[in-house]
């Protein structure tokens, strides 16, 4: 079942090592079929060079495994909460990509210092609060999703398609699996350049709002004129 979606999720997972976003098995991608209410996710702890499209696990939104010979990623409950909260999300990526993870470990959101950021993320990429001991010790992965939702809440979830989990690492999302991976690559690049920006100018402030607006809206929404649209 869902062979086409499995293939796409497989390819999106394989893109993670290609883009240097993961070491060993430290990442996972999923995507959802909204009509069927089922999502497809990477199995837990399987090496990328042994992974096959048919290894992808099919889950429903109640956390039941519908198909698959392997256990799903241990982060599956996080993905599930995001799919339930945001109908706009079609694909989700989690990695420990080193630059974004360094910001997450520092407990800091990434300010918007320039147009590369503003082209994809409208404003700061937030860092979620730490989970409480109670949240960690019961349904940790589900609570990780709930804290992401708590942080995103007041915003349009697609205008800032990613977040940092404190002391952990990034999650990104998108319209589908490939788009979520695209945003994971962008986040890593932004995290790298923002680190260096701060070293070069410790007093730096975020880019002017008018410039952020210009770049974000040049690529998104009804007035967009970037690309071949």
């Amino acid at each position: 079942m869902l062979e086409e979606l499995k293939q796409k999720v497989y390819e999106a997972n394989m893109a993670l090592p290609k883009y240097n976003l993961v070491t060993f098995t430290w990442g996972n991608v999923s995507a959802i079929d909204r009509e069927k209410g089922l999502f497809v996710i990477k199995p837990s702890g399987v090496d990328y060079d042994k992974l096959l499209p048919s290894d992808m696990v099919v889950m429903d939104l109640n956390g039941n495994k519908i198909e698959g010979g392997y256990n799903p990623s241990s982060d599956t409950p996080t993905h599930m909460e995001l799919y339930k909260a945001y109908p706009e999300i079609g694909g989700i990526v989690h990695t420990h990509s080193p630059w974004a993870t360094s910001w997450a470990q520092a407990g800091r959101g990434i300010p918007c210092y320039g147009t590369t950021h503003a082209d994809y993320f409208y404003g700061e990429i937030p860092c979620a609060r730490s989970l409480t001991p109670e949240e960690i010790n019961s349904a940790y992965e589900k609570n990780t999703g709930l804290v992401i939702i708590e942080t995103v809440s007041a915003k349009n979830v697609m205008s800032v398609p990613g977040i940092l989990c404190n002391n952990h690492g990034p999650f990104t999302w998108g319209t589908d699996a490939a788009n979520a991976v695209h945003n994971a690559v962008v986040l890593e690049e932004i995290a790298k350049m923002s680190y260096r920006t701060e070293t070069l100018n410790p007093a730096i402030k975020p880019a002017p709002q008018v410039l952020q607006d210009k770049h974000y809206l040049r690529k998104h929404g009804t007035g967009a004129y970037y690309g071949q649209k």
Copy 2:
């Protein structure tokens, strides 16, 4: 038309990912045929691995598309202003290369700390001022070109063949497309080494002027003796 120039511009664009100067489609190269008064530029938002020489867009210096199935790069008006202002420029590159972009985001020009810099850029590589809200909200890409020209103005444009746009990224130029790419690679390398120089010695001053003169003039002008000239 301009098949040979399209081929060269295509190759120069393809050199950007080869030299690790771009992620996804974050860059563009153009070159001009001064006799015909036409320039050739990369289309907007097309993946590098799908790009063909025949996809290059031909523009005139009034901003009219003369030939091409795609929209030209959204940065086309910036290129056009530079071609109009400086008859010496034969090719232009824009990237979001990470080291140069970090300086641009920090709002800082790159001081000349050594001979690598002085071999190619005669003095500091300037960072242009921020655009005003009015400049951003009307003809943004054209105004980006005008602010570059305002910054370069008093200098020989070819003696410092590149600039940083505040909160944005670098533009470089040269005698043709390949030479502009060459300067983009040099700028990125200089940006990296200058960052590290400042970390190692926060009190560092620019290299002595006499050394800058020696190295720049060893490679440029009538007294040059570097290479096979």
Copy 3:
């Protein structure tokens, strides 16, 4: 003799340049056959591109060469002390991998700043004390092993499968040669991210103990639920 183990140790040594953990010959891997009481180790100073499985040297735990045409690694006495002290250890890696070595040269242990660390190392990765002049000038490599043991002593050796030797570099270990290499890769990645974490937030504290417990125990021990176990 021990052809299978030689092959595994060979492959583990060849993985070091593949994972960018060594320059030239700056690393060595060994593994032990506990039943026979013999361990197999890379020869000293032989280029990786000339290395053959049959070049691996067989040693006993008294430091006698049992088989092999080459001298064993000069670090052999360090490996031997660790095998003698810890029956749990099946394989050992020494490298001068650049990020971990930078911490070792700084004389600092690596605090646990996040889940990537906690997934593999339970608490800080310690930096051993400097050897005394006497320890350096007599049986230096053996004393390096003894100082590692002194530092590890109070802990479960497998819960923190690596250490930094002051002004020198890392040693890691594992259940076998491949697992010890795996831990060397993880250590290097953690060393890189922890460096950047401190730059981004100089006041950063280690991750909460409850989060460290959660992640370590999610992957290790009787309650583990990561992967396909």
Copy 4:
């Protein structure tokens, strides 16, 4: 003439891009035939991917070109002074390798922070003083050599086989061309790790002298026991 030496010098030059020590043509290697009193050096400004063994230029120690269709490297007088001053030197490398050049631009020698350094360089890798305006404006490349010699003077030239030229970049040397390249790779790796060591511990002091002695003498001199000697 000197076909074998040309081949070795060619291969050593081609190793520079392989080891990521040069961008474009920013480096050169030479080697000397002491019996004939002639040295072979890379031509100036020729791309690495067009270079042939037969392009290598043969020079005598008075600066006369003995054979070769190209101009020799513009740094030839620096190489020549070093060959004249130090009969032990068989090969010389100059690069603008980014980490070593960052220290050179910062005007700082590289302290010995650990065993990786001590295995190859006995003590600090010095940074030569700036040239005076007079030295720069007359026989600049020759004077670069003389200032290197002034800095090295009191030491055994082979025990610290490299130096940083202020605001410029590194020179390394060795018993032959390949050995000089080897030392250039080591220098770059040391420069990288020493930078990070200082960031991690701004108060760090050089490694204890007794440890430096141990490691240097473990690999060099009559008591050496590293490798297969």
